[in-house]
């Protein structure tokens, strides 16, 4: 049996999914944080490493405060438009204000990412050993703005380097007990992936997209390393997904969603997770028996004010 896999097909999530979806709709989406917490529990509990499942300890209540803040921002953004129209502002004035606000949002993104990461990893456990994210907001913000600025003035050409810098910072600050992680991906390699995409996507009538996705998945996985400073060892993750398996995943997911009118979402979620987790291979010499607890005190300081905007992405 594989050491690292996703254990469910989606059926155990079907009932909670429908119930929670209805509650979210009825509550005008105020219930969403609770729905999200259950979904995350489902996902984490079905990720199995060496026979033990992961735990997500977060609660809907904790995520609610952050969610409300986000909701208020969104309502202000959209509702503000109607109010300004009613107050007889000129369209130019409104446009100006909105461009201004949009720039504000761009600066808020690193803050959202940071607080999301901090919360999510503080609430992740395996065999009672806590994960943690030790990035600093100020550092991350500076990094984000600096490389974001380069990306802007190069009209996006710098994006692969930007992405790698961000990934390097984030991965480098994730702790799993006394272990930590490293990301070694280079901007130029990521850039090549994009260049190939641009060159080949039209020639292949769009079919190259599956190979592109495969390349990205493999790039991020194969460049992620687990570091054990106590043993002085590094362990490289590997992935060998094929473009064909990506094709199969996406097409079947699409068909499931279409033919079930969206009710098949739990199965699609499970298929995605299975694809993601089962395709990450952990080297045999990496043993999980002696990971020491280190993050408990640090995590206790994480406040109940999470903005959990992150997608399922584990890396």
């Amino acid at each position: 049996m594989s050491r690292f896999y996703f254990a469910d097909t989606g059926s155990t999530y079907a009932l909670p999914f429908i119930l929670n979806r209805i509650l979210t709709i009825l509550s005008l989406s105020l219930y969403y944080p609770w729905e999200r917490a259950i979904q995350l529990k489902y996902i984490y509990n079905n990720i199995i490493l060496d026979g033990s499942h992961f735990d997500f300890l977060g609660t809907g209540k904790e995520m609610f405060y952050g969610y409300i803040k986000l909701l208020v921002l969104i309502i202000l953004f959209y509702g503000g438009f109607l109010v300004l129209m009613a107050l007889d502002f000129t369209l130019y004035a409104i446009m100006f204000l909105y461009i201004f606000m949009a720039i504000g949002f761009i600066f808020a993104i690193p803050f959202f990412i940071h607080s999301g990461l901090k919360y999510r990893w503080a609430k992740t456990q395996w065999r009672g050993i806590n994960f943690g994210y030790r990035g600093e907001l100020k550092e991350f913000f500076n990094l984000y703005v600096k490389h974001g600025f380069f990306t802007l003035i190069t009209l996006g050409i710098y994006y692969p380097w930007f992405r790698c810098q961000i990934q390097k910072y984030i991965t480098g600050h994730i702790k799993f007990g006394h272990l930590h992680f490293e990301f070694r991906g280079k901007g130029e390699d990521y850039f090549v992936i994009y260049i190939k995409f641009i060159l080949l996507i039209y020639i292949t009538l769009g079919l190259y997209i599956f190979r592109f996705w495969r390349n990205i998945f493999n790039f991020f996985t194969n460049n992620t390393i687990i570091v054990d400073n106590e043993k002085g060892e590094k362990y490289k993750l590997t992935s060998n997904v094929t473009a064909w398996s990506f094709f199969e995943l996406k097409v079947i997911n699409f068909l499931i969603l279409i033919f079930t009118l969206g009710l098949g979402f739990p199965w699609v979620l499970a298929r995605n997770m299975k694809f993601l987790i089962d395709n990450i291979e952990i080297p045999d010499n990496f043993t999980t028996d002696h990971i020491r607890q280190t993050e408990t005190d640090y995590n206790n300081a994480v406040g109940e004010d999470a903005i959990d905007m992150l997608d399922i992405g584990f890396i």
């Binding site: 999530y13 909670p16 509990n45 499942h53 007990g177 607890q293 408990t296």
Partner: protein
């Protein structure tokens, strides 16, 4: 006795554990790294229980730092749970069946609630909003609708002025906000736009036999405005659309319906109840102001007499103002109830009407 896995909260190592509940304590036997048994003893007061429905495991966690835990398969835990105090038991014995019942009950309740809120609460709130909608906004909305259709209406400003005089003379509108327009359109029709605009077509005026009918039409349309009928219909359709698009997450559609509805205000079809209300309250208003409400009935007769001849055009009017016979019946009742102290001085009205009708 039950078997599970023990985690000490300090490292990730996994220990096979056998647990033995007694009155105040939980006895735990684990094997240390050398295979020798090690005995642990937890105070029941320190333990928290949690059932993890997705992992199908029961977690017993010892709250004292470092937090230690034992994880058991559900069946293992159920074999010993009777020996534990009530606060450390799970109520999930008939888990599957109970869940299905609960799910059924909740869905039924939710569906019932949805139906109730869609058909009862939503119209109620829409009505409330329509009634409390600020007058200045209603006026703005109506004005934009009126302006958008003004070019099609072919308004005669001189005759509109006369018509306004006629209307003002009736004293229906005490706040003097309503504007009346004479449209040189041949449709046998008259309509009200929210915010206080009444348009009467030349076709309708020319088909009338006397000024009382015009008094009747204006009373009818004035009630539509006074009771905000069009606004109420707009808010109803808007709110049900809002509810539907909330459920299906289609917010952009709301904008579409807003635009579509403001267009529909032009050719608004009121509900039957609203028409009856406009007829009866209109007739009552006429009585109140000392006019002969029979004008309303005569109006219906006129409309009826035109029905077979100019089919196409009248059909439009009929579709929105159905059942003329029924409406006449309703009006007869008001007529028979009225106190017959009629306002004698209708000479001015009469002359304005004749002027409007004959001056081609």
């Amino acid at each position: 006795m039950a078997k599970g896995k023990y985690f000490d909260g300090l490292t990730s190592s996994e220990h096979e554990a056998t647990i033995n509940p007694s009155l105040q304590r939980l006895g735990i036997i684990i094997s240390d790294p050398y295979g020798r048994p090690k005995f642990l003893d937890w105070d029941l007061e320190d333990i928290e229980i949690e059932y993890n429905e997705f992992a199908k495991r029961v977690k017993l966690e010892n709250k004292t730092e470092p937090r230690k835990r034992i994880e058991l398969e559900l069946s293992e835990f159920l074999s010993i749970q009777d020996q534990l105090p009530k606060n450390l038991r799970l109520g999930i014995r008939s888990n599957g069946l109970r869940k299905i019942w609960l799910f059924g009950a909740i869905s039924l309740f939710i569906i019932g609630f949805l139906i109730f809120s869609y058909f009862v609460m939503l119209p109620y709130f829409a009505e409330k909003v329509a009634i409390n909608f600020p007058q200045s906004y209603e006026r703005k909305l109506g004005l934009s609708v009126f302006e958008s259709m003004e070019s099609d209406l072919d308004i005669d400003s001189t005759k509109s002025h006369d018509l306004q005089l006629f209307f003002n003379g009736l004293g229906y509108d005490e706040s003097k906000n309503v504007q009346v327009f004479y449209s040189k359109t041949n449709d046998i029709n008259a309509f009200a736009i929210p915010g206080g605009f009444i348009v009467v077509n030349e076709g309708l005026i020319n088909s009338m036999n006397n000024y009382k009918e015009l008094q009747g039409v204006l009373a009818h349309e004035f009630i539509h405005i006074k009771h905000r009928h069009s606004l109420r219909i707009l808010f109803r359709s808007l709110s049900s659309y809002l509810a539907i698009s909330l459920v299906f997450g289609d917010i952009n559609g709301i904008l579409a319906i807003l635009i579509q509805n403001s267009n529909e205000l032009r050719s608004l079809s009121y509900s039957r109840t609203m028409e009856t209300e406009a007829d009866i309250n209109g007739a009552e208003l006429m009585v109140e102001k000392g006019f002969d409400p029979h004008g309303m009935i005569e109006l219906m007769e006129t409309l009826k007499s035109h029905t077979p001849n100019i089919e196409n055009e009248v059909f439009k009017y009929l579709a929105t103002h159905p059942d003329l016979d029924l409406r006449i019946n309703n009006l007869e009742k008001v007529y028979s109830n009225q106190a017959k102290t009629l306002n004698a001085d209708s000479l001015i009205s009469k002359s304005i009407f004749l002027n409007l009708k004959n001056d081609r």
